[in-house]
């Protein structure tokens, strides 16, 4: 334990000793988990992360549109959105970060930053509310971000054969659809591995751009 650094300095939250990355950590990659509220993104991040999941925020300030006020000041509206994320050390040099982001339109201003350089995405869906993920998948397709679909197996959610889901989601035959119990580390890990195998197959076929 190192107490020296905090002498006479107000304590700032920081990584616990066992959460610190080695000095050899050189680079990081990211995977994004997208889905509607309550679908289990944060649970999934937490089940595989080696650190307590953290939250980063961003605020978008937008000048009011069509507002002509007499005082010369702009009317602004601020939207603050939060993203939970976790971390997995891959090697002593390489680190993987997992970001969970809601799919609602008000979050899209974050997407350029979030998806730039991301390896790919997992779209987490709840079969009781399948349609909330439609827009998200469309956005990923438009951006050319490779993704797989993971169905969070809520106990009371209707079960559908994979091919029926594929039809309803209009997914290309090569896009994997997996079931995932996001509370279980092994299940979440296997979902991420499915994404990695998919990305690998795209890279092999030269389709990954």
């Amino acid at each position: 334990m190192d107490f020296n650094a905090s002498d006479a300095v107000p304590a700032i939250p920081g990584p616990r000793t066992e959460e610190r990355l080695p000095q050899t950590a050189q680079a990081a990659v990211k995977i994004v988990i997208v889905g509607g509220f309550g679908v289990g993104k944060t649970t999934m991040v937490g089940s595989v992360s080696e650190i307590r999941p953290l939250t980063t925020e961003e605020t978008m300030t937008q000048a009011g549109i069509g507002i002509d006020d007499n005082y010369g000041s702009e009317t602004k509206t601020a939207t603050t959105v939060a993203m939970d994320f976790g971390r997995i050390s891959i090697t002593e040099k390489l680190v993987l970060y997992l970001f969970g982001t809601p799919g609602q339109e008000r979050f899209w201003f974050l997407w350029n930053r979030l998806f730039e350089g991301a390896l790919g995405a997992v779209v987490l869906v709840d079969t009781r509310r399948l349609d909330v993920s439609f827009d998200v998948m469309g956005r990923l397709e438009e951006r050319g971000v490779p993704f797989i679909v993971a169905v969070n197996s809520f106990p009371d959610a209707p079960r559908h054969p994979v091919e029926e889901l594929r039809g309803a989601l209009d997914l290309a035959p090569e896009i994997p659809i997996v079931e995932c119990d996001v509370r279980r580390r092994a299940s979440s890990r296997d979902t991420l591995l499915t994404l990695m195998h998919f990305l690998h197959s795209l890279a092999r076929s030269g389709a990954l751009t």
């Binding site: 905090s6 891959i90 438009e142 050319g144």
Partner: protein, 136 residues
């Protein structure tokens, strides 16, 4: 079953410039030895920082520094991503990048660039991530 979705097509020119000018030329950039460090400042004087850019302190907090700078330097005695810094210091990402840009300018921290998804497939990198996940 719920209403059906219609697949969309990729739009033209979706890919923003890579975070490093020569990243696309390094077909085998998956090998960590080949990674570059962000040193220069780009347009607008703001360093090009990603959520997963790793930041490492190069020195102890100078007496002249602000409390915020000192806080970053203490946190970065071991590498830490911009996202983690933002979370621990409770600063929005944009404020965090402004602070880190100052520190890079003053040569107090080093930024280790994230690997961007390459125009060329990088199977070595994907395989490294797969092996890492398999050990979980």
């Amino acid at each position: 079953m719920t209403p059906r979705r219609k697949r969309r097509l990729p739009q033209e020119a979706p890919s923003p410039p890579p975070l490093a000018p020569d990243a696309g030329e390094e077909a085998e950039a998956g090998s960590p030895e080949r990674l570059y460090a962000v040193t220069g400042l780009h347009d607008g004087g703001r360093a090009q920082l990603d959520l997963v850019t790793l930041i490492v302190a190069r020195s102890a907090p100078p007496p002249s520094g602000t409390p915020e700078q000192a806080a970053v330097l203490r946190l970065c005695s071991a590498p830490l991503s911009v996202a983690e810094l933002s979370a621990y210091l409770d600063l929005p990402f944009s404020a965090m990048t402004a602070l880190i840009t100052e520190l890079i300018g003053a040569d107090l921290v080093q930024a280790r660039a994230p690997i961007v998804r390459q125009a060329l497939p990088d199977r070595t990198l994907l395989e490294a991530v797969m092996h890492g996940l398999q050990r979980l």
